[in-house]
């Protein structure tokens, strides 16, 4: 079977698709790509199924060697990408041959890039998904020396496709958010503050949650443990705002003051620890 050899795994590279659905009732996190906008774009460039598994590349990328020919596309964070030491572009389809080596260099903008291959990565499917998660998949992230199975058959389409997406909004520090279930319990002033103040991503940010450095003083009490989703923004009694991300638990006991939009999750996934953002209020039809 065609595969990719992990020469170097990078800082924290994981296999992700759109995640696990139907198993939240067993306490299983949804997982899946943090920035579904960029991952979706990479799959679209290769005519893949939107649920095809891709590599989520964070900060320091991997070094990969291909065992057979395929097509690739990288979208999302702006890395220097080298195919056999030749610079290649983001958001473009490339043909690779057996023995080709793909390297990720300096990161210029954003945090997470997505590498799609023609078809999909064909790694282990657990509870309906290939997304890596500790205790669910054999490995929690890419490991040095691993061989990642990929689709054998290369679907050749006539011309090299190039998809032009307007992605300026992805880099916008204004993160789209809706008022959450406990938003109304905040005072009018606190409600305004929540959409006016700047919040800095903490260095403790990961795939489970992104806490913010600034404290937001509040008088909210804990709630009876209730459902949470990726994108739920919790406010702890000591004033820490925590945006839950794709690997978050299925329930939580802190007031849920905001809910990021689906696109807001993608925007936040591309921000680095130390970067400041603010929440931009969006309204849902109700």
């Amino acid at each position: 079977m065609a595969n990719i050899h992990v020469v170097r795994p990078g800082f924290y590279t994981t296999l992700q698709d759109t995640g696990r659905h139907g198993v939240a009732q067993y306490g299983v996190p949804q997982s899946g790509v943090m920035d579904s906008f960029s991952a979706g774009k990479a799959n679209l460039l290769l005519n893949n199924d939107p649920n095809a598994a891709v590599l989520e590349i964070l900060m320091t990328g991997p070094v990969l060697e291909f065992s057979s020919e395929t097509y690739i596309a990288v979208c999302g964070a702006q890395f220097d990408i080298l195919l056999n030491d030749q610079a290649i572009s983001l958001a473009k389809r490339y043909r690779v041959q057996k023995g080709d080596v793909l390297k990720f260099g300096r990161l210029h903008k954003g945090l997470r890039a997505y590498l799609a291959v023609s078809g999909s990565f064909q790694t282990e499917l657990v509870l309906g998904s290939r997304s890596q998660y500790p205790g669910i998949t054999m490995a929690a992230k890419l490991e040095k020396g691993a061989f990642l199975a990929i689709t054998d058959e290369v679907v050749t389409t006539k011309a090299l496709s190039r998809v032009n997406f307007e992605d300026t909004q992805l880099w916008d520090p204004a993160i789209e958010a809706y008022p959450g279930p406990e938003f109304a319990l905040l005072s009018t002033e606190e409600q305004q503050q929540l959409f006016e103040r700047l919040f800095t991503l903490s260095s403790k940010s990961n795939r489970m949650a992104i806490p913010f450095k600034e404290t937001f003083d509040n008088t909210l009490k804990g709630i009876t443990t209730g459902p949470v989703l990726p994108g739920t923004v919790q406010l702890t009694p000591n004033g820490t705002l925590i945006a839950l991300m794709r690997d978050c638990q299925v329930s939580g006991g802190y007031p849920r003051v905001l809910q990021l939009s689906a696109f807001g999750i993608c925007q936040l996934a591309q921000k680095r620890p130390g970067e400041a953002i603010w929440f931009k209020r969006k309204a849902l039809k109700s």
């Binding site: 009732q25 067993y26 657990v126 009876t224």
Partner: protein, 241 residues
Amino acid sequence: MHVKPSINRLGEQAILLQWDFKISPENLKFLLSIKKYIASNIVKHKVEITNTYNSILINYVISIESVYSDFERLKTLDFHNIPLEAVTSKLYRVPVCYDAEFGLDLELLAKEKSLTIDEVISLHTAPEYTLYFIGFLPGFLYLGGMHERLKMPRKSEPRASVLKGAVGIAENQTGIYPNSSPAGWQIIGNCPVALFDPKSEPPCPFASGDRIQFYSVSKLKYDEIQQEVQAGTYHLTSTHG
């Protein structure tokens, strides 16, 4: 009882129904009946419906096509007059070994509560615990119904790691760690049954609404059950009720 919930959308892809009632087995039964009603009468597309103590979450994971129309229907639903079907619940007997090897805080807890270790064990194995929902970690059961006398705060200094299957107490809750993990709970025993196995179908043998009763087993019996679990020949016993 407040049968009318507050109904809100949670992002583009989910609807959250919340009641302000107390946590009780009766209210859980009501919640599960409503959940069943919504699954068969309201939603048309493939959704994922989960519940907690007082909430139901409808997650439109595959398609958000009908989220708005379903939301509208839920808002006008007469919750007082929904024909509620009883939801079946199973009663499981689950083994726990309370040996000193596993019950790291058993002696401390007994001393604190002026009970003998045997009394702690009999108080812990007496109730039929209600499984409200599974959360926190894959396979972590939120159980209700622990005896008041066993109530104990978390440890001031959490342990860096406890064994898979560790049975603990924190405040008025009892629970089992489905996997080895850091733990702040008072550990009183260990359960040899797998609470979460991603290779099994379903990955957790229990479901919201089930009842669980613990029974005490010797270390010898524990080892025997553990071997059966590993060989895949162990089966939990349950009765419908």
